[in-house]
């Protein structure tokens, strides 16, 4: 009898260990998934031409804190591109403009979307390599 008991006890150890490992694996997978869901980035426009006033908007997400635009003046002139963040409510952040071909906007918003735009005053189209937003 005691032999049976001790046998049960002996087999209970590995069973608990297996359950613990399984739980740990589930927790790890859940943790990784949660991290993946939190860290987000999106190319919301790529390799296209913007005429004056053209605007693109990224998907909405939480904690957006990077909005980057790369562009070039292959059609002539010194056209200006801009970036900003918008939220569901309240006034949007003001535009950041440049004609250098690169804007890296590091403002952040608790929940919102990123935008890129060709200034309505541009006399030339502008080639946009990408508009990209992220929250990490």
């Amino acid at each position: 009898m005691s032999a049976v008991r001790s046998s049960r006890r002996a087999s209970a150890g590995p069973r608990i260990g297996r359950r613990f490992l399984a739980l740990l694996a589930v927790a790890c997978v859940a943790g990784i998934s949660a991290t993946a869901a939190l860290a987000w980035s999106q190319y919301y426009e790529q390799n296209t031409s913007f005429s004056a006033g053209d605007l693109r908007t990224s998907a909405y997400n939480s904690g957006v804190d990077q909005n980057k635009v790369n562009f070039s003046n292959i059609f002539g002139g010194l056209p200006q591109m801009g970036t900003r963040l918008i939220s569901g409510g309240g006034s949007p952040y003001t535009w950041t403009w440049s004609n250098t071909g690169s804007i890296e906007d590091y403002r952040s918003i608790s929940y919102g979307a990123a935008q890129c735009m060709a200034n309505s005053g541009n006399g030339y189209a502008v080639y946009v390599s990408f508009c990209w937003a992220a929250n990490f």
Binding site: L78, G90, Y93, I103
Partner: protein, 203 residues
């Protein structure tokens, strides 16, 4: 007959030489009187003059990694060439970090605000690679950017009012209200030339 042919050849040859020489002179005169070279291609000497930065905050390190990759610059070389051009700037008390990319462009970051990493030094307005705007609740908009060695002053007028622009270590900075509609900027070069542009701030 042969002599006549030779004279014609000499005459046409002389004419071609004269036309070529004339065109060259016209081009040279045209360049001498035109705008200074675009971007900051005349030099950004602060990147050579200022001391290296020993410690970089994590977000500055992340910016450096991104921009060195984007510009095809060796990360080790980029890290070694980082300089702090300005400190505690404006309402956000931002620092300005910059490095020279493989192509010779100046990539910069104004901490917590904005940055730029042009493809090369010749992009944009002669003498000034700028960003403008970028205000948000509690923080005014700003004109900021890398100034070439051949620039003596930058003048900013926002909605008809003059706004002082400070330039130190090849970096210009000025703040103005987020409600502004229009900015007019003049870049004064040492040569006396002036490069001007305006921006519709509301898009």
């Amino acid at each position: 007959m042969q002599l006549l042919k030779s004279k014609w050849i000499v005459l046409i040859g002389s004419l071609l030489v004269a036309i070529t020489a004339g065109t060259t002179v016209v081009i040279a005169v045209g360049n001498a009187g035109s705008e200074p070279p675009s971007g900051v291609s005349t030099g950004v000497s602060s990147l050579d003059r200022l001391p290296a930065v020993s410690n970089l905050p994590p977000k500055v390190q992340a910016w450096l990694t991104y921009d060195s990759t984007l510009s095809g610059t060796d990360p080790t070389q980029a890290r070694a060439s980082v300089r702090r051009l300005r400190s505690t700037l404006g309402t956000t008390q931002s620092d300005v970090y910059a490095f020279r990319s493989r192509s010779g462009a100046t990539c910069y970051l104004i901490t917590g605000r904005t940055g730029s990493c042009p493809q090369d030094a010749s992009r944009g307005t002669p003498g000034f690679q700028w960003t403008i705007g970028g205000g948000y609740p509690g923080v005014p908009s700003a004109l900021a950017g890398v100034v070439a060695d051949d620039v003596s002053a930058i003048e900013l007028t926002v909605d008809g009012k003059d706004v002082p622009v400070s330039i130190e270590n090849n970096f210009a900075f000025a703040e103005f209200p987020t409600t502004a509609q229009r900015a007019d900027v003049s870049v004064r070069h040492v040569s006396g030339a002036v490069s001007s542009f305006n921006v519709n701030l509301q898009g």
